[in-house]
């Protein structure tokens, strides 16, 4: 019930809506909770709403940190 999934914006629609790509499936979701979105943004989607965004730089920083733990062995 609290598991949102990352989905990429494929079209910005009127009335705070957007079409997103969810593992290949196209789905229309509300963006009322995250404010304006642009094409290719990654949103965290849950029960038909975008609840948040994925920050690509921070995502990369986490991956780098994970690899660093491995490299420290």
């Amino acid at each position: 019930m609290c598991h949102a999934v990352p989905a990429q914006v494929t079209a910005v629609l009127p009335d705070d809506m957007a079409q997103v790509d969810l593992s290949g499936a196209k789905k229309t979701v509300s963006t009322a909770l995250v404010g304006p979105v642009t094409l290719d943004d990654f949103l965290l989607v849950h029960v038909g709403y975008a609840l948040g965004r994925v920050d690509p730089e921070e995502a990369q920083a986490t991956l780098a940190a994970l690899q660093e733990i491995g490299a420290a062995q």
Partner: protein, 382 residues
Amino acid sequence: MKYVEDYRDATIARQIADQIRAEARPDRSYRLMEFCGGHTHAIFRYGVTDLLPPNVRMIHGPGCPVCVLPIGRLDMAIDLAKTHGVTLCTYGDMLRVPGSRKQSLLKARAEGADIRMVASTLDALELARANPEKQVVFFAIGFETTTPPTAVALKQAKAMGLENFSVFCNHVLTPAAISNILEAPEIRAMEAVEIDGFLGPAHVSVVIGAQPYEYFAEEFAKPVVIAGFEPLDVMQSILMLIRQINDGRAEVENQYIRAVTRHGNETAKAMVAEVFELARSFEWRSLGDVPYSAFRIRDAYAEFDAEKRFAMNQGRPMENKACDCPKILRGAAIPTDCKLFGKQCTPQTPLGSCMVSDEGACAAYYKYGRRRAAPQHLEAAE
């Protein structure tokens, strides 16, 4: 899927596991509670417990909204659908949860009540718009993740003047529940649930941010690491907790930096604050009455409050006495301790809420083959 598979790499997981083994001191234990059922699920699905040394133990918390909803509130929803002739909409998770006297929403539907599964509050609004002759009630449950979508629906209903739409509100709050677990003296005295640190929720924190956890990290001197839901997120967060405990620190750290900020989603929080206010107290299954732990609908939206629109009847809630869900939800027992687990109670024939919901600890144990063995001693796969 981008931002998902990247965080499931088995080689890196083993390397982090080696690091955890290297840093966890053999002369002490680490009892870490993952509050959120999404983490419980990830931990079992990816076999995280098998990668941890025996002195690092995960304790499963009450973060499963279906599991903590008191049976009386479910009885009220069933009664509403059966006796008031409304169209009751809810998320799929609720349909099979057993209420009192072997009732459930699914059984009520089989008996003729109009009960619909919806994937979004938008679907419930659309049902109300398309069927003006029907009273449509959204049975709202969930933590801070599902609350903002309910707030949006209430705002839209008001803007559209949808007189046949209302919400039966059961939205609950994570930080209040964690504080309750830490401070309830009767629970501690009775069951001595000692917890050394918390894995904080992922998507709840996307909404509320990291800041609300600072209070109890300081007040109770317990470290908190907000963790993403993928297995590498969980492993890294466990390592971060072990480091805090070893250093004697009790801070709020954020592993899930790609989605969680200190203050969370301000737009969502503002919408929630406009529509809801804190209820003085709310009953949690397993924790009892927890002060300021749930939302109620503000007076400005009272006309959309199902509890004000209909004479809702709680009846006499009856718990199944043999079911250990309450203890499991407090972290005081594990699913295999329950006499019903895997025998009378399975995902096909659930007797307790922890077996019904995908996020429930019993469902996770059953689904991933931990049917008899304790979590540290895995039996051969069936």
